[in-house]
């Protein structure tokens, strides 16, 4: 990466941090546990890096490292989103149950 590209990447980083603080600051305490697991799943985005390594046809160490990265990242992504969904369903189950009776 050239130094200029680095500054570009830094710009993206800084803006994303601002977006993050603004957006996350509005999540109510009720949802802090799902927020934690959900944002955790998002941090599994390294999966795209792992895919590029695993699919590049490297041999030797790079191959095994890529494979390990891929497995770990996939666990993080799949597990993270599923468990978050499971938790969030609980929050809305009650709402849906009510909906049947009163059309709320």
């Amino acid at each position: 990466m050239s130094p200029e590209a680095l500054v570009g990447a830094l710009t993206v980083f800084v803006l994303a941090v601002f977006v993050g603080f603004e957006v996350i600051g509005r999540v109510p305490p009720t949802l802090h546990t799902p927020l934690m697991s959900g944002s955790n799943a998002i941090s599994g985005i390294t999966i795209v890096g792992a895919l590029l390594v695993s699919g590049a046809g490297f041999g030797g160490l790079a191959r095994w490292l890529g494979m390990a990265a891929l497995i770990l990242a996939t666990i993080n992504v799949v597990g993270g989103f599923l468990v978050t969904q499971r938790m969030l369903r609980m929050f809305t189950a009650r709402q849906r149950g009510r909906g049947k009776g009163t059309k709320s």
Partner: protein
């Protein structure tokens, strides 16, 4: 798929992550938010798979299948009370993946001699990622009670710590000189791993939630660093979103406990709590009288407004469904029931909310501190279920108390305060609770679930 198309897909993924997180701002839209974020991930993965640089799909297939199977299994099987551990574990895995990807970037075949603009983020990615992994594993082990939860501290550990920091710095310098040296990289990972272990070993088990939120932030930063190394914007954006989320959660928790992050990470608050607990149990038990569930049930049914204060003991006893039953029975009798949720009740942020949501409690009945405190004086009964520190009046009155200044729920201001716990042992902070000795307090000793089952049947009969 061309590079431009790939990057546009990544941008779409990043936008979906942001929109998803925005939808997490209300329980109603939150499930959609999670699905939105997952859709973003799917787009990013699909676009990557179609990219021209991908030549073989065999390894990918194996990796994705194995990973998905394990992830799905863990997500489906985990008990709600074990959520903190699971989040810690996932955190660690994400950090490890980031470290691996970042490291591979400099040692993979065909890499051209990378400049500092690549080496520095690679070093950061490996360092932060590996620390996140080992730190999270220790946190997991403590929470799962595979190792004792207390804070382990000694001079020796501190010396090792300093040595490791020095080693890591030296190795970062070495990596700049020899960017593709596998050994330097491995050494860096090792030092970071030891640092992660030592950092978390020195923190008391009950402080783990703060640690997990902090590790959450670190795993985001590791992903960001990897993004810098690969020049990949979606990694940078997602990583910083997660980093911001982790930092905000850490702040909220520290504020709820009235401590600074530095204090949590370096002071070993939980270290002495075992001893203190013993002393308190011995000293306090004599002063108070226990009541029977029958007596408590009579008071409960006589009230108009009952505020339930759940705490960590609710999670330990897994009594969330039984609490819900009790509330239902009381409501049938015309008693209004609300829940007072302290920001740090339990062992992770939002812990009580998740438990009670699992038991199908309407989230509009869950009131936070500012909302419920003015209502305690009007309440006939405050029913404290396995909570301790979050209702300790010393936080208000005793300047010398370690929890002084921590905002608490004013359960002591209710007409009667019924407390369900097993003994006079203190909670996480290890200090005595004068609430239990108050005149208007009724202690009902025993496992919270057993007591609640008893209460439900008593209230039914009343």
């Amino acid at each position: 798929m061309s590079t431009v198309a790939l990057e546009l897909s990544y941008l779409a993924a990043a936008v979906l992550f942001i929109l998803g997180l925005r939808q997490l701002s209300s329980p109603k839209t939150a499930p959609k938010g999670n699905a939105t974020a997952a859709a973003g991930m799917l787009i990013a993965v699909a676009a990557t798979l179609l990219h021209q640089e991908i030549v073989g799909y065999a390894d990918i297939l194996i990796g994705v299948l194995v990973g998905s199977a394990i992830g799905a299994l863990l997500a489906a099987r985990i008990q709600m009370t074990a959520m903190p551990q699971l989040v810690a574990l996932f955190n660690g895995l994400g950090g490890a993946a980031s470290a691996l990807v970042a490291g591979t970037e400099v040692i993979r075949p065909g890499t051209v001699l990378p400049g500092p603009a690549v080496v520095v983020p690679v070093a950061l990615g490996v360092l932060i990622g590996t620390m996140t992994l080992t730190g999270s594993l220790v946190a997991f082990a403590k929470l799962q009670e595979l190792v004792p939860g207390g804070a382990i501290r000694s001079r020796l550990l501190q010396v090792i710590n300093v040595l490791m920091v020095a080693t890591a710095l030296v190795l970062c310098g070495a990596l700049l000189a020899q960017p593709s040296s596998l050994w330097v990289l491995a050494g860096l990972a090792l030092a970071a791993g030891v640092l992660g272990v030592l950092g978390v070993v020195g923190i008391g088990g009950a402080d783990m939630p703060v640690v997990i939120a902090f590790l959450n932030a670190l795993s985001g930063l590791a992903a960001s660093a990897t993004g810098f190394a690969l020049g990949n914007d979606v990694l940078i954006v997602s990583g910083s979103l997660v980093g911001a989320s982790g930092v905000i959660l850490t702040q909220i928790m520290c504020k709820g406990m009235n401590r600074s992050l530095g204090n949590v990470l370096f002071s070993g608050f939980g270290a002495g709590s075992g001893a203190a607990a013993g002393a308190a149990a011995a000293g306090g038990a004599a002063a108070v009288r226990g009541y029977s569930p029958e007596e408590a049930a009579m008071v409960l049914t006589g009230g108009q407004l009952v505020i339930i204060v759940p705490g960590y003991g609710l999670a330990v006893a897994q009594a969330q469904h039984t609490v819900r039953q009790l509330a239902d029975e009381l409501e049938k009798k015309g008693v209004e029931v609300l829940y007072a949720i302290h920001p740090v009740a339990g062992r992770m942020p939002g812990h009580m909310n998740v438990l009670l949501a699992e038991a199908d409690v309407d989230y509009e009945k869950l009131k936070d501190l500012d909302e419920i405190n003015p209502m305690f004086p009007q309440a006939d009964v405050a029913l404290v279920v396995g909570a301790n520190d979050v209702v300790n009046p010393l936080a208000r009155s005793d300047n010398s108390s370690p929890i002084h200044g921590m905002p608490i729920l004013d359960a002591d201001k209710a007409g009667t305060c019924i407390v369900l716990k097993r003994s006079m042992r203190p909670g996480f902070s290890g200090i005595d609770n004068p609430l239990y000795a108050m005149d208007r307090t009724m202690m009902v000793f025993g496992d919270a679930k057993d007591t609640l089952v008893e209460l439900v049947s008593q209230v039914k009969q009343a």
